[in-house]
Symmetry: C2
Subunit: 347 residues, 2 copies
């Protein structure tokens, strides 16, 4: 998911696991399913060697866990999409890999109930290591592509939550899962399904990872990487469904519900690219205005690139945009690094 | 610890717990004992309302856990010491408070062995919630100030590690402590002491918190907030001791060893302030050059302010300094916000 500028093109048939690289991860401040517990790329980058447009090479910080020495150039480079400098060396913080994980599937006949359950789990004091939402249509499409029946599809089903906990003590994880099940019971959850072994877990994750490719193949070619406070997910889903009805397109959502990061995929009868014409741009602006009104923003992990830059003014006021352009000019006055990405800049 | 510019003045007799405010925490990107497990302030700030020098008000981001939308203005403001904008509203990420914690004191007859043990614990896959080092002199001074005998001081003792683990399952924490004890056994640790109840824990923490005030009162008036990769702590301590011998000053160190963040306090026979004359500046430059050579930097959590700014060129090359000054100009072209802090800037 490191190149948002190709996200609606047929090229994007490979899910990012196995195709993305650490340089792209840093440039996009990538996330993924485990971010809900472990944070995103920016939370692991301590120091970067970058090449400036002049050819000069600097380190942005030091190889330390805490740093209160001058402005945080490291965090400025992370997520800057290659527009400020070219990353050539990376110092990352490492943490121990957890020994165990447990995976649960939770079916819901109401996607709104599913999304309400998400924040309730965190309010109960539990932090899952993954908390993914898949709307039924995305499950059906991905299951078909994988030729898999790993996710049971029952009558009336609207969505599944895929919930993982991880850690070093299996008893604690079992207790966490019990506590999560108790919370879910308040949200009209169906029969919970626990993955028994690594193979079952892989099958479930495979379906989740194929959601993007499968949706594109089925005509859901326009993807938006919305993110809102997780407690606002129900309102986001409801709002997008209303927009779909009003504007005559089909929509399917899936993604990192625990972060409030929902990938919304649009199947429009006329337009297959987000930048194709004004009508589709107007629809997307409405979605982003909804996102903004809920305290969210237009990209949680995919970045802005070329095709999202026209929507930057929806979430940033002109003053903020000028500050960003000012920073760009400080690093790259001649506008030669990844020119035209994130925003347009006069030379 | 929110105002580095007063760190060597008598004013600083109050440890930061109870005296610092959230605005200062954000401006300095504060740390503290729990940062080793939970990160620093920057890891919790999602969005900031700031007032620019023009009087214009902007939000730096959105109220979301993941954000890949434009440059990270939020992280640029955190730690910028009030030089880019005035923070007026703050959106923080919250996490559940752990239910239990256990506290252990580990005495060492060699401060180098103590510092070697620090990184060994992390390499064993354990992440304590606090991992503090106190050299014997700081323990003696703080214990005297507190009129406390909570930390036993035995013949030949050079340092204590204060090690805390926290979480929601007491059995797991006991196992963590056992595993830590096993690691410590390889580093000539003395008899381990476990705090039995909240009162004992408070007494131990009180001594740690009084280290700064007690050191100042005893003539250790110059404090440096060094930070290195934690595996380099033994070399830092050894190097600083050698510098003290060569240059005729006394030194005592304590701090957040788990982060590699060591507060080095200097008792110089002639100079009581770091900026008093060239001789003391030369000594401090040598300390910072050592820190830099170990991959570290001059401030882990106190910031730069006025008195550390002359040392910025030790860790940043001129190009990086120019980039920072350029950013400052973008936000504050007339140099009216906290002028003179971090670096000097021509109008």
């Amino acid at each position: 998911m490191s190149h948002p500028e190709v996200q609606v093109l047929d090229l994007q048939v490979v899910p990012s696991k196995g195709s993305c690289f650490i340089g792209g991860n840093i440039s996009e401040n990538s996330g993924g399913p485990k971010a809900v517990k472990y944070g995103v790329v920016k939370d692991y980058v301590l120091n970067l060697e970058i090449v400036l447009p002049t050819g000069e090479i600097i380190w942005t910080g030091s190889n330390v866990l805490k740093n209160a020495t001058g402005y945080n150039l490291t965090q400025l480079i992370v997520g800057s999409e290659g527009t400020l400098g070219i990353v050539t060396k990376i110092v990352l913080r490492l943490i121990p890999h957890p020994k165990f994980d447990l995976l649960m599937l939770a079916p819901f006949n109401s996607v709104e109930k599913a999304s309400e359950a998400v924040s309730a789990i965190f309010r109960a004091g539990i932090t899952p290591s993954a908390m993914e939402l898949m709307e039924i249509e995305s499950i059906k499409l991905a299951s078909k592509l994988c030729e898999s029946t790993a996710i049971p599809i029952t009558e009336g089903l609207e969505a599944h939550l895929i919930i993982e906990v991880d850690g070093n003590d299996l008893d604690v994880l079992m207790k966490d899962m019990e506590a999560i099940a108790e919370v879910l019971a308040n949200f009209e959850v169906g029969e919970l399904y626990f993955a028994d072994d690594a193979q079952q877990k892989n099958e479930l994750w495979k379906i989740r990872r194929k959601a993007s490719e499968a949706s594109v193949a089925a005509g859901y070619t326009i993807e938006e990487d919305t993110v809102v406070p997780r407690a606002e997910l129900p309102r986001l889903i409801k709002g997008v469904r209303a927009l779909a009805l009003d504007n005559g397109f089909k929509v399917v959502s899936y993604g990192h519900a625990g972060d409030g990061n929902l990938h919304i995929r649009i199947n429009h009868p006329k337009y297959k690219k987000s930048y194709e014409n004004e009508e589709i741009q107007t629809i997307l602006t409405k979605i982003f205005e909804l996102v903004k009104s809920l305290g969210g923003t237009i990209s949680g992990e995919h970045g802005i690139g070329l095709i999202q830059k026209s929507f930057m003014p929806v979430v940033f006021d002109p003053i903020s945009m000028e500050l960003m352009k000012g920073i760009k000019k400080v690093f790259d006055p001649n506008h030669i690094l990844n020119a035209g990405k994130i925003f347009d800049l006069k030379k």
